[in-house]
Symmetry: C2
Subunit: 335 residues, 2 copies
DNA sequence: TTGTAGGCGTTATCAT
DNA sequence: ATGATAACGCCTACAA
């Protein structure tokens, strides 16, 4: 026998296909308990699985979500994906994952792909703010979507975000409280909003204590280790700063490496604070003080938000709070 | 207007739906160039997208693959996923990713989910060897599948694997050549075949040079950092070995940490060789010597294999070769 | 070269 | 409480 259909089930159970369909869809009314059980038994026996194509054809639902992230190999994202996947599966959705590599080109292609696959919704971690043409495509296709991590735009779209300004503030405050007065910062790309948010929060904390952050102590990185490694050299050699705030953990690793090469001891000679608290950093020696975000939970929350949208409920963005995790890489400066 | 159908296109272009269908499916014969162009133009104009449900209903194909991995948060897997995804997408397939957490329970559930979603094929990184009930489910559902990384079983199923024995051998050989004679090994779980393969290859290399590997110098780990960290303590404190082969990079990180705590310098006092060459380790100081595998390419290859299966071609497993990457963590032992 | 019509497996709308 | 039947949108013999 090939695949069983409700027709087959109906025949075998001696009922109509309508009845089988009712059982399948848990319609409670309009059926005797006996009939229901009879049908269920047959379905059980043959391990019946309804054809999703046929179903989708009429219901217009695929029970599938799409997730677009920049790059799963970026250690920030696996946790986020897990959160999204676990929550999606608990709500009986499958998840199609796409990596955009932060290329508008690919974002578009995948948006198109997901539209073709007729996903019921999309969770989107965009390049930065949502590209206008992406936006148009999304609205034309009328696919519900939520943003995550990036692309915050208060009024326009709902999503799940981190309070990056606060994160930066926590980092700055922590270093100030330790007694640091000459502090450097390695930022993410200026073109990315969350990167600027972190810097601004950081500066605000310093300013509150009257500490200056001269441009020469701000280095623009790209969230990658390599560039942070190279660009931190000047800053470290001039010995002008006693502490550095790296706007993500991966760049903090780059600083670790350069410090080690230059014979600068962490934290004795130099304190470092990272951002994200990705799993990777448990391998660092000494352990990295960082600003933690609950990426996994953010992923779960994004799915909840999306499901609410599907149910036409009013949705508002969810803002997560970062927390400071003090470990070994930050301490008071030497006198 | 709601979604366009081929019927709408047909009307607008003044042809029959058959003709539209033909254009859609790139049937070359049986149509004048003019007609084709006319239809294409209309499709272009309205940005037509065929309904995959309707299509699948008749073709029985979803243009979707499923990928089951233990855990995307394990740093070995993101690269593998990327390989699978990139190759799948280039062949016009979407990818549903599932994390089994190495639980047979979840493997089953996801297998079921993928079956329900009617994926065209599955790429499976099983717990170890393929569970008999999984096997049964797979064959009952008649879903083509290939294994990847784990579950090698020469005769039974094809897949993409690494020559782990060779990898272990390379590690052993390298340390021997550096002059080490007292060497420790931290293995993966004994229950996992590839873990034993690595150990066996390693032992073979030592044996060739008449070097013993007493049981006291073999520690069974679980591929995680924590356990490797704790369990390596004894070995390191007794100062019995001048080198350690950790059967994956993550465990090597654990050893780094313990060595640091005990004031043991790497590589002066202790050489370390890892396995995998995961991206994470670029953060380690000193840089880790390791056995590299081309995980990304293995992912791509798995998709190729699967596609060949779909085309009913004869398929045989693909075996990848690991390579030794010498960095800073291994050197000759002190006299 | 082009068109007609039946069927794919469900759900949903009416009947009974 | 249960059943017959028309969609849903596409593909594919078979006709013309």
């Amino acid at each position: 026998m090939k695949r069983w259909t409700i027709k087959d089930i109906a025949k075998k159970a001696g009922v109509s296909i309508t009845t089988v369909s009712r059982v399948l869809n848990h319609k409670e009314e309009g059926m005797s308990q006996k009939t229901r059980e009879k049908v269920l038994k047959v379905m059980e026996e043959v391990d019946f699985q309804p054809n999703q194509f046929a179903r989708g054809l009429v219901t217009k639902r695929s029970k599938t979500f799409g997730l677009i992230v920049p790059n799963i190999s970026n250690p920030y994202f696996p946790e986020l994906c897990r959160g999204v996947e676990d929550e999606a599966n608990e709500s009986e959705y499958s998840l199609i994952i796409c990596n955009s590599d932060d290329q508008t080109e690919k974002e578009k292609r995948y948006l198109r792909l997901l539209e073709e696959q007729q996903v019921d919704g999309i969770i989107f971690s965009a390049k930065d703010s949502l590209d206008p043409s992406d936006e148009e495509q999304l609205s034309r296709a009328k696919i519900p979507f939520v943003l995550i991590d990036r692309g915050k735009n208060e009024k326009k779209h709902s999503g799940v975000f981190l309070d990056n300004d606060k994160g930066g503030y926590l980092a700055g405050k922590h270093l100030i409280e330790l007694g640091h007065r000459r502090i450097g910062c390695i930022t993410g790309p200026k073109s990315i909003a969350l990167s600027n948010d972190r810097l601004e929060g950081f500066q605000r904390a310093l300013l509150e204590s009257g500490v200056e952050l001269p441009p020469s102590q701000i280095i623009e990185g790209n969230f990658q280790m390599e560039m942070a490694y190279h660009k931190s050299k000047d800053l470290l050699m001039k010995k002008e700063v006693t502490a550095i705030f790296a706007c993500n953990d991966v760049m903090a690793c780059g600083v670790y490496r350069m410090a080690h090469e230059l014979g600068i001891n962490i934290p004795t000679d130099l304190s470092i604070v990272g951002f994200d608290d990705i799993p990777l950093i448990s391998a660092l020696i000494p352990k990295l003080t960082t600003i933690r975000q609950d990426t996994y939970q953010m992923g779960r929350e994004a799915v909840n938000l999306l499901i609410q949208k599907l149910e036409n409920k009013d949705t508002t963005s969810v803002m997560f709070n970062p927390t400071l995790v003090v470990r070994e890489s930050s301490t008071s400066p030497k006198l």
